[in-house]
């Protein structure tokens, strides 16, 4: 099969919005950027996040109160030690009665704490999972509400990452990070309060020793975040190299590039390894450093407590309790340090998810939709203009009238706007200016279910769902049965082809339909369209080579499918154009010629040029 377009080949440029670009798996790694949400920005994320997830608000206060109780429970042991030592032991003889009472009460409280912690934890988990479930499903639904103008090939991987890796990062955070933040924050405050009650002087000593930790931790964490950011870049770099090697292995071998590839791969892996070690320095240093500071604080507390304790009114029990409290004070700080990176990643992902949710759907369905007339449908475009997002105009004012029942071929170079035009007719996006009328009704006012049944586009790439041939055909009409699918196959004369498949109609098509050839995927897509019995059929012809047997089946199926319907074909074959009632020649967003094949050839314009070059290539001998 040859392309009808002489100037440029297939694929690429503006019309690439239906894919073709390989989305590398490493795209998933693009989950965060540090800019924009640091510092006070975290609060902004939380505010937006709370607004977007109603599940998060329910019972938040109760959960927080219970977290407070859990943190307070951790203080029970130092408190009991203090009381036992001060009241039970040190005032002369040992008062076993008091000791029994105190430890008994503490043990009871610990048991209560266990149940409390259990309930809290379960609440937190449930809330988090409900939030994540809601967020994921809503974001996914929202992505499907966005028009094709948003789903460009270059953004495909990024959008998928919103509902996969971004949500997973949030989940990881919810499981560890978020709990750490809540409990740790509460714990730091609670420990500080107890310390102050025991002895404000000793509390001050503790704080003073810990003080230098803050700027050090801050700068260390900055370095750590940067180092991990670089590491992530290295990881994607390695992955890109590996992916290139794997995909290009045929070329690499046939052209003797193996050792060059090996050198590249080893270099990438080594770079990743070195950056890993660099990032690891922080990981190795931070915790030991804070541990040493914590010990220094205990040493300072003991020295000053022993020396000035009497003057400050500190009891022996309080001083002993301080040694335990100091541990409880520094632990959450280090814990927060450990989850900081995870928190950043999660918040960055959350922010991006929220951005998706805030993108207004640009195709809005009417509240009360109009019905379309029965039978084949005419199409009229009035002053049609279109641009993708901020891009240049792709369509620059089209006025087109297609009578009901006509068969129309749309031709033009890649980027001339022909595919965009048919996408607007299928309402995969709305025009920037002007309107499209189908059956004399503005498409924007048509009931969506009506539209989907009556206006059916068969896209070029023949994407199929990972199930059987039959199932894929039944997707053509909601509620279609296996018998309906069989009817559609028979109507298009595809029985022989289906019978030739390994398991007939129950043959699995594989991921994206890739177990079938390109041509076979198109056959399934045609049967699917037949099932819908649309009044307006839009075909985007494939350009890639199809083997001859399948080609014949395709020709026949196409002819039968278009019978009795208005058909608009983005034509890549001459035969389609030759047969059409009307040919629309697109060039740079305008229709530059329109008419029948013979007339256009005779006119000696753009179309005749296309035709000449095509003929020349096949009939020169």
């Amino acid at each position: 099969m040859s392309t009808l377009v002489p100037g440029e080949d297939t694929g690429a440029a503006v019309e690439a919005i239906e894919g073709g670009d390989v989305v590398g798996p490493w795209e998933d790694h693009d989950v965060r950027s540090l800019d924009g949400i640091e510092g006070a920005g975290s609060l902004a994320v939380l505010r937006r996040g709370l607004a977007a997830s109603p599940e998060l608000r329910s019972g938040l206060l109760l959960t927080a109160a219970m977290a407070l109780a859990v943190a307070a429970g951790k203080l029970l042991v130092p408190l009991t030690i203090k009381m036992v030592l001060d009241r039970g032991v040190l005032d002369g003889d040992v008062q076993m009665g008091i000791v029994f009472a105190l430890t008994g009460v503490a043990a009871g409280l610990i048991l209560v704490g266990i149940s409390l912690e259990r309930i809290t934890y379960l609440r937190l988990t449930k809330t988090a999972e409900n939030v994540l479930y809601g967020l994921r499903v809503r974001t996914f639904a929202h992505l499907h509400r966005l028009s094709l103008a948003e789903h460009t090939a270059s953004r495909k991987g990024v959008l998928t990452a919103r509902v996969t890796s971004d949500v997973e990062a949030l989940n990881k955070f919810a499981q560890w990070g978020a709990v750490a933040w809540i409990i740790s924050a509460v714990q730091i405050v609670a420990v500080l309060v107890i310390m102050l009650v025991f002895s404000w002087q000793l509390a001050l000593v503790t704080l003073l020793v810990h003080l230098p930790l803050l700027p050090v931790l801050r700068s260390v964490q900055r370095g750590q975040l940067r180092a991990y950011d670089r590491l992530r870049t290295r990881v994607s770099e390695t992955l890109a190299r590996v992916s290139e090697t794997v995909l290009g292995m045929g070329v690499i071998r046939a052209y003797g590039q193996r050792e060059a590839s090996r050198a590249d791969l080893h270099e990438a892996v080594d770079q990743q390894y070195r950056q890993q070690l660099r990032a690891m320095r922080y990981f190795a240093l931070v915790l030991p450093f804070t541990d040493v500071v914590g010990m220094a604080a205990i040493a300072a507390v003991i020295a000053s407590g022993v020396w000035w304790g009497d003057a400050w009114g500190v009891s022996a029990g309080e001083l002993v309790a301080f040694m335990f409290l100091a541990n409880l004070f520094v632990a959450p700080i280090t814990q927060l340090g450990e989850v900081l990176d995870q928190t950043q990643t999660a918040l960055a992902g959350w922010w991006k998810i929220l951005d998706v949710l805030d993108t207004e759907p640009d195709v809005v369905e009417p509240d009360v939709g109009l019905r379309l007339p029965e039978g084949s449908l005419g199409v009229r475009a009035e002053g049609l203009e279109f641009r993708y997002r901020e891009g240049d105009l792709v369509l620059r004012g089209l006025d087109i009238d297609i009578p009901s029942g006509a068969s129309v071929a749309v031709v033009g170079e890649t980027g001339s706007g022909k595919t965009t035009f048919v996408k607007l007719v299928a309402r995969l996006a709305d025009p920037t200016l002007g309107r499209v009328l189908v059956g004399d009704i503005d498409l924007r006012e048509v009931d969506p279910d009506e539209r989907r049944a009556a206006v059916r586009m068969v896209p070029q790439d023949g994407f199929l769902f990972d199930t059987t041939v039959g199932e894929n055909i039944r997707f053509g009409r909601p509620g279609a049965t296996a018998a309906d699918a069989a009817d559609a196959i028979a109507a298009l004369g595809l029985g022989t082809w289906v019978a030739s498949l390994p398991a007939g109609i129950d043959t699995p098509v594989g991921e994206r339909g890739e177990s079938l050839s390109v041509g076979e995927r198109q056959l399934v897509a045609l049967a699917r369209a037949q099932l819908a019995d649309p009044g307006l059929l839009i075909l985007d012809e494939a350009t890639s080579a199809v083997d001859p047997e399948t080609e014949q089946a395709l020709e026949q199926a196409l002819a039968r499918l278009s019978e009795g319907r208005t058909t608009i074909s983005v034509a890549h074959r001459l035969s389609t154009a030759e047969r059409a009632d009307l040919i629309l020649v697109f060039d740079a967003g305008h229709v530059v010629e329109r008419g029948r094949h013979a007339d256009l050839v005779a006119a000696g314009g753009v179309y005749s040029g296309l035709h000449e070059s095509w003929l020349g290539s096949t009939r020169e001998q």
Binding site: V89, Y121, L122, L287, A303, R456, F463
Partner: protein, 593 residues
């Protein structure tokens, strides 16, 4: 890309998880003994320092705190000395912790590098048939997620290796104070260990199910958003959301279950040491009353119990990671166990002008049906020959064999009298240049894609680009030859890519040029011009697979393939008398119409 093939795809092994986990650890240890050893040494010193710290606390209580606050007071020197000892122990603790973390992580990172390089070398050295049964995504997952996961159980390794020392030293320390305290610990340690193990075990199943659900969710998301155009044209948006919601719900249920188990076990695990402390406090005060222990002894024992939970948790991590790591390691071994391709050391010289001879050539994938079946043919030096045959007749396979990408399973192919098998992977690229229909260009500059590792003068580059009608569009690129293409650069159309691939082949001045539908996406007019140029250029033996009549006619001779054999050969017009050939060519003609 983590969940390309989920979990549990490995066949059941007779060996238990622990044995396989142990072997994995040994492998890493053997490859990088020094960092592992230092990490474990650091961990053990840390364990001793932790217990040592509690001993110091006891002494400080008895000799500083009690006399200082309740007794007659202590002198400044003693107080400072006590503080200094605590600080010193703190430094030992910190440094040993640092050593443990640093070297353990170094061992993990080095292990990852070693395994990753081994996998990638294997990718480069395995025969090309290795790629036949393995999708690219899976190969990427091996090099990335599987290496990472296989090494993940090494993260808590050094710490775990100090748990024994910690337990023993702790027990001795308690026994020295009072046998009753040791008894409390002897009750507590096993309970903690059992709880941890139970928790780890109970979480295993839902964790595996959750992992599978993550794969399911991401699979649906990828499929649905990849096929967004089809979803929209079919109006299946709601059905797709429903489908994702179902999978997401399964995931939620499993995750909540994991959370519930955690809520059941972990509060106990955290609270048990505290309960132990209370018991020690109660027993201790009683013993203090009896006069058999000091207050400091009690404090020291309580401080020890305070440290107990963490190492138990670390052991828990180790056991939790072990099954995942072992499964990933199995996957890596599946790759590493593939025999590498044999590459003859000294390829014999090949004459300047090459005749290609197929002598009873057969080929089959593994145990599959034969793709080529006793194919015999001769292509003269400098001749141009078209291969024609229906889909599946073996044309592309024949090319792969000539290019040495796969070995023949029977017969032999000679290039200028030299067997392709003797030339090997290193000799063939100097003789043969294949151009495939699916062109692969690297995400680099146009220039480096064309010259690969060779030095080519600009004049020669220009000449070849003109030959394949690529000079104009290359000149029109933002920075011409230096423009980066692909993923991070300019997107080229299929026809442009094919022309660059053709130029890449010609620049190597191959003695045999193989074109497998290599101009299918190029406009017919341009294609005709290119093929004309190729004939004029000459100097090579040309084999071409074509679907266009124009291309077939350009060849001196046609080899007609059916079911892996040559059924007819000769000039195109002569072959038209063969009915099946004529039918096929007519179909091609129809397809282009």
């Amino acid at each position: 890309m983590t969940d390309s093939d989920g979990t549990g795809s490995t066949p059941a092994r007779t060996d238990g998880i622990f044995r396989r986990g142990g072997r994995l650890v040994l492998r890493s240890f053997r490859a990088h003994p020094l960092p592992h050893f230092l990490g474990i040494a650091g961990a053990n010193i840390f364990a001793v320092a932790v217990v040592g710290y509690t001993v110091v606390l006891g002494r400080v209580t008895d000799e500083l705190i009690l006399p200082g606050l309740d007794g007659g007071g202590v002198d400044r020197g003693t107080a400072l000395a006590g503080a200094a000892v605590i600080a010193a122990v703190g430094v030992v603790r910190g440094v040993s912790m640092m050593v443990r973390r640093f070297f353990n992580f170094t061992a993990v990172a080095r292990t990852q590098r070693t395994w990753r390089l081994a996998i990638l070398d294997q990718y480069l050295d395995a025969p090309l048939s290795f790629y036949h049964s393995r999708p690219a995504g899976q190969l990427l997952a091996h090099a990335d997620a599987d290496v990472e996961t296989a090494a993940s159980m090494l993260m808590p390794l050094a710490y775990s290796m100090s748990v024994v020392a910690l337990v023993v030293v702790s027990l001795v320390s308690l026994l020295v104070v009072h046998p009753l305290f040791a008894l409390v610990a002897l009750v507590l340690f096993p309970v903690l260990a059992v709880l941890n193990q139970r928790y780890t075990r109970s979480v295993e199943a839902p964790a595996a199910r959750a992992q599978a659900a993550v794969g399911l969710v991401s699979g649906i998301a990828h499929e649905s958003l990849d096929g967004v155009l089809v979803v929209k044209t079919l109006g299946r948006e709601d059905a797709e959301v429903e489908r994702l919601a179902e999978a997401a719900h399964i995931l939620r249920v499993e995750r909540v279950e994991i959370g519930r188990l955690r809520a059941v076990y972990l509060p106990f695990v955290y609270a048990l040491p505290n309960l132990g402390i209370l018991v020690v406090l109660l027993l201790g005060t009683w013993l203090v009353g009896q006069g058999s222990v000091s207050v400091g002894d009690v404090v020291r024992s309580m401080a020890l119990f305070n440290m107990l939970a963490i190492p138990m948790e670390i052991l828990g991590f180790l056991f939790q990671e072990m099954p995942r790591s072992v499964v990933s390691m199995d996957r890596l071994d599946g790759v590493l166990s593939v025999d590498i391709e044999v590459r003859p050391a000294d390829p014999p010289p090949v004459p300047a002008s090459v005749e290609v001879v197929f002598d009873d050539v057969s080929f089959a994938f593994d145990a599959g049906p034969p793709v080529l079946d006793g194919l015999t043919a001769r292509v003269g030096a400098g001749e141009s020959v078209a291969l024609v045959g229906a889909t599946g007749s073996g044309k592309s396979t024949l090319f792969d064999l000539v290019a040495g990408l796969m070995p023949v399973t029977g017969g032999r192919i000679t290039l200028g009298g030299v067997d392709v098998a003797e030339l090997g992977a290193d000799g063939i690229p100097d003789v043969v240049a294949p151009v495939f229909q699916e062109t692969y260009l690297f995400a680099e500059t146009v220039r480096s894609n064309l010259v690969l590792d060779r030095e080519v003068p600009d004049a020669e580059l220009d000449r070849v680009l003109r030959l394949v009608a690529a000079d104009e569009f290359v000149a029109a690129l933002p920075i011409g030859l230096e423009t980066v293409i692909g993923e991070r650069g300019v997107t080229l159309s299929g026809g442009q890519r094919q022309r660059l691939a053709l130029a890449r082949a010609l620049l190597r001045q191959p003695r045999v040029l193989l074109l497998d539908d290599a101009t299918s996406a190029v406009d017919p007019v341009v294609e005709a011009a290119i093929l004309h140029n190729l004939r004029v250029e000459g100097g090579h033996t040309l084999l071409v697979v074509a679907h266009r009549l124009a291309t077939i006619r350009l060849a001196d001779r046609v080899l007609f393939l059916e079911e892996g054999r040559i059924v007819a050969e000769g000039p195109h017009h002569e072959l038209l008398s063969v009915p099946s050939y004529a039918a096929l060519v007519r179909a091609y003609e129809g397809a282009t119409r």
